[in-house]
Each structure stands twice: as structure tokens, then as C-alpha cells.
Amino acid sequence: MEQTVVEVNDLSRSFDHKKALDGVTFRATAGQVYGLVGSNGAGKTTLLKHLLGLLRATSGSVRVFGLDPVRDPVGVLSRVGYLSEERELPEWMRIDELMRYTQAYHPTWDAPYARELLETFALDPAKKIKELSKGMRAQAGLIAAVAYRPELLILDEPSSGLDAVVRRDILDAIVRAVADDGRTVIFSSHLLDEVERMSDHVTLMHEGRVALSGVLDDVRRAYQRSRVRFAEHLDRPPALDTALVMEGGGRTWSVVHSGSLEQFRHSVAARGGEVVESRDATLEEIFLARAGRSRQQAEAA
């Protein structure tokens, strides 16, 4: 039985007449991991802030656990763990004070789990937040977000600027949240490798809109990278129906394309070429094809 945890419908939001979100629809069901990707300024943080009631929907609707996060902040936030991109934490607090403070608001606080994380991260509980390095701030923020085992974990760029050791801690926390209690995770990231490993669903945002969204394996299957060889040397890539990005030169070209492989083969054959090799595109290739500055787009301009 699928339980809807987050439901965003046709959400739009402007700042100073600039559209930060444009008709965004997004749904999250319990026990799944949702990866949110997109260039800087694509709208990821803006979307996440709406889920937390930090921004109010002016057009469209946002529901978390069936509640409006702006009208019922306590009902929503008591069940959500949040790590913001800026790692916003009370600077003057010591780590142990932050733990006690957070615990006071969350009866489900798991003290042994919090202690275990503090030890694993080797954080000095007496240190003040403002004395912490970037990595330690993320660790402290992570403990505060996960130790009460919230039903929904929202992580905004959790790995950004962190070394491999701390990044591993973040991934562990995500795995444990889902594996242990069937809880839900929504995280945004620039590290597409991480998103590919950790997401069940992926949503690509581009210029405030959802460019694509779906089960990760389905999304990857919808895009292929194929190596194509033509009978003749070509100076420019030929226009092929479903091709999004073409790289290479001369007779051999590497193409990222959408739709069916059969359709692509036909359009290649019609240009006097053959598909030599083909595989599902990686998330990075799809991202660059849909949200990057591609050769084909540049040449069409």
C-alpha cells in the first residue's frame, strides 16, 4: 500500500518578477529515495523550502503528510529532518546543547543513535557550532536531522564541499533511514554518481521547471548513448531525429538520444550510417543532454 508523503501540484513561485518555480508537480511515496538534480538556480532549494513551509505557495499546492506546511508547521516539521544547504544552525550553541535542544522538540529522539554518530564522527560535544569546520557543521547538522528518526528526511546538497569520509557518512545515514524504518528521503545533489547510486526516483529541474522525473532505471532506459559510424567523413554532426547531443568527428560520432533504439537505427541508416554500439545513458549524460549547453543546441542557434 503506497502512502503519499509529499504532494506538490502545479507550484509556481516568482522572486522579483523572475520565475524560480514554474508549474512544478512532484510526488513522493513512503520508503523511497528521491534524488533532485539540476544546475545552480534551477529551483531545487526553492522547491525544498516550500516543503518545509519556509516559503508559502502563491500558486499551486504543497502537502506534506497531507498537511499544508505553512498552515500546520508543527504537524509537518515534527516529522521532518532537514539539513539545509547553508547548514543553518545556532552558531552560539555547543554541539551537546544542539542535541538537547533538538531532542526537546522530538520525543522520538534516539539517544544511543545520536551518541553513536557523535563518536563515529569524533565530534567534541563541548565545541560551539561557530568553531566547527565546514565538514563538522554538516555532521552536526546531520545528527540533529536524523537522530529522531523522522519519517521524512530532506537534505539540500548534503555532500557539497565535503571530503569523501564525510560524504560516506551522509550516504550511510540515507541508507539507514530507508532500510531501518522504511522512511522517505529527498535529497538534492550535484554529485550525479551519488544520485545514481542512492536514488530510486530522480527529478531533473531546469530553469524552474521539471525537465524529467521518474524511476531512475526507467529514466536511464529512456535515453541511450550510441556510437555511430557513417559511410562518409562528416564535418558537422548530421541532424538525427531523437539525438540530443553529438560528439566526435569524421566518420565516428557518439550520440545521446531519447526514444527507441530501433527508431534511432532507422534515422541513422537513412543517413548512410550504422549504430555500432549502444547502452543506457548515465545520469550525467542525460543531465548534460537535457540541461547542459550541448553542441547540437549551439549549432542550431
Partner: protein
């Protein structure tokens, strides 16, 4: 359990896990009745979403390669392993042959050329008394 994930592969992660477990069973590196790591453990080890492991284990169970025992974990199936092993061993080799044939075509060799070259290489290996396991390590480097 010795499993690695390759993101550049093009193959979905759950399928990579599935294939590797089948390979381990087929080659006897996982024995009938041997326990597989719990979903949580493998997810932490591979740094992948647990649902991927759930999917892989689900398919392995559906095809009879592994069995979940109520409350005590997941184990390699007993009783059917020989058939599973043979099928999987064939599949592994067939995949390599398909890849070889595709590459041969690209390099303008016919299937007959390949057959001839297989016999030549085998004869050379027999002459030098090469250990197939050592050869595999060299090829995969």
C-alpha cells in the same frame, strides 16, 4: 560478498548485483545454503539505495537462486543449484561471445576467423602451460 558496482556500465545497478550473485553461485564461490548479507548490510557496503537490493534479491528469489527463511535471513538455494549454475555459466559465456562477435565485426573479422583464432590461442596456451586463472587476471587488467 564480493560485488562491485560500475556506474558507467549502462546496466541498471540492481541488474549488476543480480548478475554478480548469479555468477558467484554459478562458479561455486557462493555455496548452496550459504547466507547472503542482509539488505541493509549490502546497501551500506555498496552505497546504494536499499530498494535496489530489495529488487535484486526479489528477482533472485523469483528465479529460485536464493531463498528467504522466515526471520533468519536469505540463503543460496539448495537442491536446484546445479541447474541454476549450468544455466548461469552458459549465460556468462554467451554474453562474452556476443561481445566478442560484435567487436570482431567492428574490426572486420568473420565468425570463422574468430573460431580459427580461438583454436590458435588455445594451442598456444597449452604449449606454454599457461594457467587460465592467470590469463584472466592479465586480460582484466
Amino acid at each position: 560478498m564480493d560485488i562491485t558496482i560500475n556506474l558507467a556500465d549502462g546496466v541498471p545497478i540492481y541488474r549488476q548485483i543480480l548478475n554478480q550473485v548469479k555468477y558467484l553461485v554459478a562458479s561455486g564461490l557462493l555455496q548452496p545454503g550459504e547466507e547472503l548479507p542482509p539488505i541493509r548490510t549490502l546497501a551500506l557496503q555498496l552505497k546504494v539505495t536499499p530498494n535496489t537490493i530489495v529488487k535484486a534479491y526479489g528477482e533472485l528469489e523469483a528465479s529460485g537462486v536464493i531463498q528467504k527463511r522466515q526471520g533468519s535471513g536469505t540463503f543460496v538455494s539448495e537442491g536446484r543449484p546445479q541447474q541454476v549454475a549450468l544455466r548461469e555459466r552458459r549465460r556468462v559465456i554467451e554474453q562474452r561471445i556476443d561481445a566478442l562477435l560484435a567487436e570482431a565485426h567492428q574490426l572486420n573479422f568473420t565468425a570463422d576467423d574468430i573460431l580459427r583464432m580461438v583454436r590458435e590461442r588455445k594451442a598456444a596456451m597449452d604449449e606454454t602451460g599457461a594457467d587460465p586463472a592467470e590469463v584472466t587476471k592479465e586480460v582484466n587488467r
